[in-house]
């Protein structure tokens, strides 16, 4: 029973911590499958979180906040798209720039508008997403093993968490079972062929970038409206880069993205839970090592020691129509 309790506890925080990662990594999946690399996930998430915090406070509505997050994040995506698709600029440079601009301007604007030392005012109940109890959660609690798992692990999360997990099969379906998905993948592998087929490479890529913006916005809104009660300075704290790492780890596949994010979320939950307590067999693990583990794993994967991560072939290369 004690072990079950522990499992539930860790499982719950794993799900909580991996939700924004899943959303951001799926966002990256759409744009990178379309051939536009994006290391600006961090900035878009932060911008979305900020917009969500501001608007949800002013309008006292979580939905308004979510909408604002998506709008801001899509606008940032379009800047990235304009620089890297239309102007054929360096995608990495553009992504870095967006991270900087957002990191700076959220602090300046937040301070100017609310004067609370790098945060938006705490949001009241109505302006946040509430936990949802799935049907029969309480009634089934008595069932051994499965009851508590259903009641405590699966039920009781916010709507955005369910949305994130639902997006995994939806993304898979969009990518592999729709015409849009086929073209999106093609444009990331061989834009020339797509162009020959009479489909606009530019418009396809813009659509990939917009999908990325929407999901990054939701990830941001999750941070400020569900996981916390408002926006705080630099609240993404590297989650955008972890999502990027997860995306590579997952070799650009939707279901693997979810698994990789759950793994990184679990490492995080584990590090928080066992800070400073010695573990059996291994002894005392420095918390810094636990924090660095997702990055180390990604480097090891990139080095091809645990399978090869092959990015979309045309990724990072601006498309130039031949004349």
């Amino acid at each position: 029973m004690d072990l079950l309790q522990l499992f539930l506890e860790l499982g719950q925080s794993t799900i909580r911590l991996s939700t924004p990662l899943i959303l951001a990594a799926l966002a990256g999946l759409f744009t990178e499958r379309a051939g536009v690399f994006d290391i600006g996930l961090e900035g878009k998430m932060l911008g979305g979180a900020f917009a969500a915090g501001c608007v949800a406070f002013v309008a006292q509505s979580a939905m308004a906040g979510l909408l604002a997050a998506v709008v801001v994040s899509v606008l940032l995506s379009l800047v990235h798209g304009y620089a890297s698709i239309t102007q054929r600029g360096n995608q990495i440079v553009s992504g870095v720039a967006i991270n900087f601009i957002v990191a700076g301007s959220t602090v300046i604007l937040g301070e100017a508008w609310f004067r609370q030392g790098g945060r938006t005012p705490a949001l009241a109940e109505g302006a946040r997403f509430q936990a949802i109890d799935l049907p029969f959660a309480e009634e089934l609690r008595g069932v051994p093993l499965l009851g508590p798992i259903y009641a405590d692990l699966i039920s009781g999360h916010q709507a955005l968490t369910y949305f994130a997990f639902l997006m995994v099969p939806i993304t898979w379906w969009i990518l592999y079972r729709t015409r849009f998905g086929l073209r999106l993948r093609a444009v990331g592998e061989n834009p020339g062929a797509v162009d020959t087929a009479g489909i606009s490479v530019i418009w396809m890529r813009y659509r990939g970038v917009i999908c990325c913006g929407i999901l990054c916005g939701v990830a941001g809104a999750y941070l400020s409206l569900a996981a916390n009660a408002g926006w705080t300075k630099g609240m993404t704290a590297g989650k955008g880069y972890i999502a990027l790492a997860a995306l590579i780890f997952a070799k650009w596949r939707p279901v693997n993205v979810m698994l990789a994010c759950l793994l990184f979320g679990f490492l995080d939950a584990f590090a928080i839970r066992y800070q400073g307590t010695p573990l059996p067999l291994i002894g005392k693990v420095p918390v810094q090592l636990m924090q660095a583990l997702p990055y180390i794993l990604t480097v090891v994967l990139l080095a091809g020691f645990i399978g090869k991560a092959i990015p979309p072939k045309a990724g990072g290369v601006p498309y130039v129509k031949e004349r």
Binding site: G89, I92, V93, V107, L289, A292, V299, P311
Partner: protein
């Protein structure tokens, strides 16, 4: 990188276009100031005054510029070989260990001019070692340098957190830093240099590392444009296929380039550790590795452009401190915005204004009018 349609005169390529990009970046930053409800002109005044108003302020400006020359050169060297080293931050951070070890070992028994070369060597070695791994992984295993260097920034942060928490902190101390160095670990200020111009350094930490930075800039110029290695690096940066065809060993160039880049980024650590605080503190790099990206883009990866670009960012840092002091609603984060905008306009959108400028320049010079008409530029 796309090729310009028409070859432009050097003053347009290296002067006018970067200047236009810079002006646009500042204009957008001015919009943010307006959005906050303050006057951009007043902010500009405080920035200029805060950066140049007194000898002490100039000292601070040049102190920051010293740091940015190193990180800017680091990014530029990698750029020339077609590599995007985004890991200057982590390389500089880890290089701090090399500086700190040299100082902790020698500061009580040797004068600064003996400790300094050892510390330079330490910084360069640790910085190069931290850049070697991503370089090697790219050369031998084909992992993408951008992603690995980002990951290495995070790993460096965790590593340094551990080092300062457990290893390098003196016994019984609570704050995350090494002990304060004795005289041997403290670099002299450049007051004699400033007094030539009738200025006083005041409390600013403007120190001899500045001269090392200038020497490094000259060294990079020699390396890139006057040596065989530099030629091979540039060839590879232009066309990896041509380089391979010419018999240049790609893997070797990648690894060497990354190690030089890491060593340059690492030397940045000398400036704050030996020149200002006389101890290694948590987070002493403070984003300088990322500023290097903006500096290299602004300076067009040429040392002669990087030095003024580094001074410009020195002005931003020092002037930005003054703005946040005089205008409380604008914090130092304004610098981060401007930095981002410079990276965006000078880097990702560098070709946005090129067609218009090309047309204007050609129309003005008259000589190229027919050429422009033919090319439709």
């Amino acid at each position: 990188m796309s090729v310009p349609y028409v070859k432009l005169p050097a003053w347009v390529e290296y002067g006018l276009i970067p200047l236009v990009n810079l002006v646009v970046a500042f204009a957008v930053a001015g919009l943010v100031v307006l959005l906050v409800g303050e006057s951009p002109l007043e902010a500009a005044y405080h920035m200029i005054n805060g950066a140049f108003g007194r000898g002490e302020y100039i000292g601070f400006t040049l102190y920051y510029a010293t740091t940015f020359i190193f990180t800017g050169l680091a990014v530029a060297v990698a750029f020339h070989a077609g590599l995007f080293n985004i890991g200057g931050e982590g390389q500089a951070y880890v290089a701090g260990i090399g500086v700190a070890l040299a100082c902790l070992w020698l500061d009580r028994i040797m004068p600064w001019y003996v400790v300094f070369p050892v510390a330079i060597l330490g910084a360069a070695l640790f910085g190069a070692a931290w850049a070697f791994i991503p370089g090697w992984l790219q050369a031998k295993r084909g992992s993408h340098i951008v992603i690995t260097t980002i990951m290495f920034n995070f790993i460096a942060a965790s590593l340094m957190n551990y080092m300062l928490n457990r290893v390098m902190k003196p016994l019984g101390s609570m704050s995350l830093e090494t002990r304060t160095f004795d005289a041997g670990g403290q670099l002299p200020k450049l007051d004699w240099l400033m007094s030539i111009f009738g200025l006083s350094v005041g409390t600013s930490p403007f120190n001899v590392t500045f001269l090392l930075a200038l020497a490094a800039a000259f060294g990079v110029w020699v390396l890139i444009w006057r040596t065989r290695l530099g030629y091979e690096m540039r060839t590879m940066g232009h066309s990896p296929a041509a380089a391979r065809y010419a018999g240049i060993k790609e893997a070797r160039i990648i690894v060497i380039t990354m190690m030089i880049s890491g060593a340059l980024a690492g030397m940045m650590a000398l400036n704050p550790i030996m020149g200002e605080t006389y101890r290694m503190q948590l987070d002493f790099v403070q984003g300088a590795g990322f500023v290097g990206i903006a500096v290299a883009l602004m300076g067009r990866s040429h040392p002669a452009g990087i030095i003024p670009a580094a001074v410009l960012f020195g002005v931003l840092y020092q002037g930005g401190a003054e703005i946040s002091f005089e205008m409380p609603s604008i914090s130092r984060d304004m610098i981060v915005i401007i930095q981002g905008l410079v990276i965006l306009f000078a880097g990702a959108l560098e070709h946005m204004f090129r067609p218009a400028i090309t047309r204007a320049v050609l129309a003005f010079s008259g000589r190229g009018r027919t050429q422009a008409a033919v090319k439709g530029a």
